[in-house]
Amino acid sequence: MTSRDIAVVGWAHTPLVRHTEQSETRMLMDVITAAITPLGLTRADIDFTCLGSCDYITGQAFSFVSNLDAIGAWPPKRDSHVEMDGAWALYEAWLRLQEGDIEIAVVTGSGRSSTGDPSLIYPMEMDPYFLAPLGADPVTFAALQARALIDAGIASERAMAEVAVRSRGKGDVDTLLAGDYVREPLRRHDLPPITDGAAAMVLAVGDRARHLVEHPAYITGFDHRTECHNPSFRSLTDSPSTRIAAAAAGRGDGPIEVAELQAAFTHEELLLRSVLELGDDVVVNASGGALAANPIMASGLCRIGHAADHILGGGHRALAHSTSGPCLQQNLICILEGTPAEMTA
């Protein structure tokens, strides 16, 4: 087995809703079952699990511990947890499978944003000495970046509204542009919804993957990078971390058919398209992206899932992106292909 012979063989997400009364554990119980059952797998077949979630979203320390009930960790499992989006849980599982001793991994991302107030929670992820005391919420930081992108000619309020209309499949640009600003230049349609939800994804190696599905979505490139934290110390009209991650993941090795970008704000899609050099021939966020449903801690994993669907359905090459931190501080790129790279060569 080579590092290029690890594939996404299936995934599932819960209903992505404004609010659910289900606990995170309950959501994961259902979504893991939904991901493995169509493959004919049971929890006993899972060799490794890695869960992605965030205590501050849940509002409780050690919130992930009860989620062990959802993975069926008896007998005990090889298991890990990241305080990151499930996309990074997938990254850890992808590394782990390359050690060569196990075959099946399940990763999840989960969060219930509806139970908290984002404008109170998110300032706490900022530099505790210089930025957190300002109490600025994510919309405020996003507006600074949108303004910079408009000034640089990478975005315009109209282009941003067009992203919103296309992502949500409803509304018209002129009506949206007549609305009030939430934080100038952002209007309500430029903002993500608050969403509760979870996703689970199944990774398999080599022949095991090929036995499970007709078209495994091989992960042929996977990388993530971070940037300087303070948005005022970096260029907001560029995303060097996305560029480095994309290059390391081999974005340029062939044409991309489908891209799923975790752009929670409309202008972020415009910036990411420009940095990733995605032309009009690339289908971007056919799923509606994070603007249609934004289950925090699962939103990035959903992007990888939708990109994988393209390959599982017989497509050739797709790109998925996930992000974390203010103004796209940290970015992850996953390239999925219909054939493992050494077989194409």
């Binding site: 062990l68 960790a73 298991d79 990241v82 990074w88 990254y91 050690e99 990078r225």
Partner: protein, 388 residues
């Protein structure tokens, strides 16, 4: 395992204290990181990726602090990965860092773990801010009582562990608690916290950080050739089990047993008691030493306490446990696991200073978390074939 070999070539830690008011979060982690980089004769520019571990963000009130710490850790332009597996997280941080190299993704990885508990109220956060939190001692005391009941161990065993670890800490320049006049009488006279755990049988709450530089086989060989012996990883493992159901046994957790069985199989360890020279085990309350000796096959079931009673686990015994002073002496929770892993590495590198176990060639480290549910371990040695 077809995974690539991994070598530990740098280890660093802070001076652990109740309150490190002299440093910011960034300053605290950099203190450990620079010591590890100096030890490895590297700079931040040599590092390909950073893995950061810490326990709940509610301890300090900073959400996902790795975002803010990207600059302080020299991670700009690099991968920055954040792990959180409860109390075992420091161990898992080392394991995930090793995984980056075993997978062939990167050559030099920095593992960092920290906790700055003075910034908040750990006891409050351990109970998720809800009323009636028993804290860790309250949660673990029933397991300890069950262990004593089953093993019929005499009550002085816990006191002996406390005295031993506190004496060891006097030889460790970084240890938080240094109690020069420690004695059985003093432990016995300290207040009862959670029956049968007394105050001096309990871990402190510390500010501190630990950093480890890991590299590939070529990097390990280079360090060795330059006269800086590396520690080679013989096996890593993590196991988790669910919070609560009638089938689990928190006195002898299946996850703990399987975790050590897994690293022994990878390392070729068939007789742990004979083949392992020293161990750093996560002992936040004295009696856990006996519990883990048994769970990890270093003693037969019911006999762990006897190795404590007869001095086997003392620094001058035949199986020294926690020569650094352990969690009982320094406990920045998120870093406590990586400190175990780092101290084990230093023992087989011959770099443990005054608390060096003579001739240590093979060591294991363990960390555990939550309600005795998360286990992470590694086995390290002075060479890749220590048993040849």
């Amino acid at each position: 395992m077809s995974a690539r070999p991994v070598a530990i070539v740098g280890v660093g830690q802070t001076h652990h204290k109740s309150r490190r008011l002299d440093v910011s979060f960034g300053g605290l982690v950099r203190e450990a990181v620079f010591r590890a980089l100096d030890d490895a004769q590297m700079t931040m520019a040599d590092i390909d990726a950073v893995v950061l571990g810490k326990a709940p963000d509610l301890f300090e009130g900073v959400m996902k602090p790795e975002l803010y710490l990207s600059d302080a850790l020299g991670a700009v332009g690099k991968p920055m990965f954040r792990v959180h597996t409860a109390g075992s997280v420091g161990g898992t941080t080392g394991i995930v860092a090793a995984s980056h190299i075993q997978a062939g993704k990167h050559r030099r990885v920095l593992a960092v773990a920290f906790e700055k508990q003075s910034e908040g109220n750990a006891q409050f956060a351990l109970g998720s801010g809800k009323g009636g939190s028993l804290g860790a001692g309250g949660a673990f005391a029933p397991f300890i009582r069950a262990y004593i009941h089953r093993s019929r161990a005499p009550e002085h065993i816990g006191w002996k562990v406390a005295v031993k670890d506190r004496l060891n800490a006097l030889k460790n320049p970084y240890a938080h608690l240094k109690i020069a006049d420690i004695s059985i009488e003093k432990v016995k006279a300290s207040p009862m916290m959670w029956e049968p755990i007394r105050f001096l049988e309990s871990c402190p709450s510390s500010d501190g950080a630990c950093a480890v530089v890991l590299t590939d086989e070529a990097g390990g060989n280079e360090a060795a050739a330059a006269g800086r012996p590396p520690a080679w990883i013989l096996g890593t493992s993590s196991r988790s089990e669910p919070p609560s159901f009638p089938g689990r046994d928190p006195v002898r957790p299946a996850a703990a047993i399987q975790c050590s069985d897994d690293i022994y199989a990878q390392a070729g360890i068939t007789d742990p008691r004979r083949q392992i020279d020293t161990a750093e085990l996560y002992v936040p309350f004295s009696w856990h030493e006996a519990i883990w000796l048994e769970a990890h096959g270093l003693a037969d079931e019911g006999d762990g306490w006897k190795l404590i009673d007869d001095g086997t686990t003392a620094l001058d015994g035949s199986l020294p446990i926690n020569p650094s002073g352990g969690v009982l002496s320094s406990n920045p929770i998120g870093a406590s696991g990586l400190l175990r892993f780092a101290e084990a590495a230093n023992q087989v590198r011959g770099a443990a200073g005054e608390h060096q176990v003579d001739g240590a060639k093979v060591a294991i480290a363990q960390a555990y978390g939550a309600n005795s549910q998360y286990f992470s371990m590694w086995a390290v040695a002075s060479s890749l074939q220590p048993f040849d």
